[in-house]
Symmetry: C2
Subunit: 307 residues, 2 copies
Amino acid sequence: MSSLSTQAADTAHVDRYPSRQSDAAGLIDRRDPVVYGDNAPAAGPLTAAQLEAYDRDGFLLLPAYFSSDDVTALNRELDRLRADDDVKGRREAILEPEGRDLRSLFAADRISDVFGKLAGDDRLTKPVKQILDSQVFIHQARINLKPAFAGKEFYWHSDFETWHVEDGMPAMRAVSCSILLTENTPHNGPLMVVPGSHRKFVQCVGRTPEDHYKASLRKQEYGVPDHESLTRLVEDGGIEAPIGPAGSVLLFDCNTMHGSNSNISPSPRTNLFFVYNSVKNRLGPPFSGVHARPNFIAVRDDDAPVF
Amino acid sequence: MSSLSTQAADTAHVDRYPSRQSDAAGLIDRRDPVVYGDNAPAAGPLTAAQLEAYDRDGFLLLPAYFSSDDVTALNRELDRLRADDDVKGRREAILEPEGRDLRSLFAADRISDVFGKLAGDDRLTKPVKQILDSQVFIHQARINLKPAFAGKEFYWHSDFETWHVEDGMPAMRAVSCSILLTENTPHNGPLMVVPGSHRKFVQCVGRTPEDHYKASLRKQEYGVPDHESLTRLVEDGGIEAPIGPAGSVLLFDCNTMHGSNSNISPSPRTNLFFVYNSVKNRLGPPFSGVHARPNFIAVRDDDAPVF
């Protein structure tokens, strides 16, 4: 397995998606492809129709993609991590404000061999590489536990906006894989996406303060899209909640607008996120001008394995 | 039009549904009919199949029941009330914690002639009287505005539990009508119900403090069903969100377990609730032993019009 250090240097680090630079919000066109290369479906595993849907909508659901045995093994590993006080004491672990329960775990691929192995699994990397037409590396690996009865909403955002401004990701050339570890139902706060929103970039207002990430992991305050832009995007594309049984995988573009409502249902919603970035899209200095976020949130170290 | 004063006095005021009387939660069987009388569908307007569904599920959706002209007129009246500082200054008005926007308005039928007239509209009172097999009066009339982008969740509850404990409602013989003033979508925090839950009564833990209602209008702390009971009810009946276009009406039993998630969508969710109680089920002293809540929350005055 090669590492990121063997990859060519980034090209000129130019801010093609300015955001948080003024008091006015804006909606500009995407300046990058969604599906890269010649999109040859022959390379597989995604079909031409699947690539077309991903290109058009900005997401693609693969229902029941992993077997129930796989799901059982992944949940067993997650249960082990949740019960481990050493894990909960790490800075990669975000705990519920009330109590000691795990809410998010970053760098799950580095903390756990099981999740590390999954990150390099062909079933995930092959479709992602097909979309991005390049080798890839994990940009961020996160487990999000939305508990039953008391799961909180997560407001609309484009991941790319944050990764661009706060992490210096140059282009829209990254894919998020959400692996559903529990069933996502209409009622347990499933991820909602705005189809077609990946074609527009919402320029957010305000400036990014130093060390903003520590608070932002608990509550968003910067990089929040304005009501008018959101309304326009939803008028154009509507809202969809790609739900499915545990083991389903949702692939979505780094710029697809998404969020989720609360969960008062008795079913926890546990999703694992692997974000794959193209090796041709390595992070540079953050466009915000403030210090880069730590590697466990936005991978920029040379040791990152390349798939 | 007759008033409640002309009705016969209540029979013995016995607590057949004890709740908030111990530290242990409980799940007991319903002790009242759901559909009263001989259920003769000939009386109309509900069909035998509709009555059967209501009896079985504890709710019945009547899609697009009011015309779009009706909906426009009701929304115009609501807009007038929302803009009226005198209305917002009334104790019947519950404002958003941040800002001066109206969140709920109680006694809408008494504050507004338009809503007052609607409360007595045959299209609502006839199906309700068919279910309850008696004359009825408005027990509570409330407008709930769940704003776009920032609507908060409302946790699971049985209305009857509160009306019984805090208002002294003797039996399960009341029907809620939720009139959708905006479209309720899967994504804007629609009401969720647990089909069949009306057949069980969840006994909640804790005691009710005096003047609890002032805080409870903002946040529930008492009368909250326990996780184990909720899980059992949902295992048995699942969760449904009866959604529909503006003008749809949802009839649901006073004991049907319901709640709603947050609303981050750009679509506000505005629902008008009229609760009709049977004249044979007038309020007595609260079973909690504390003072009765005011008439605008739980009607017990003799002047209430009877339909």
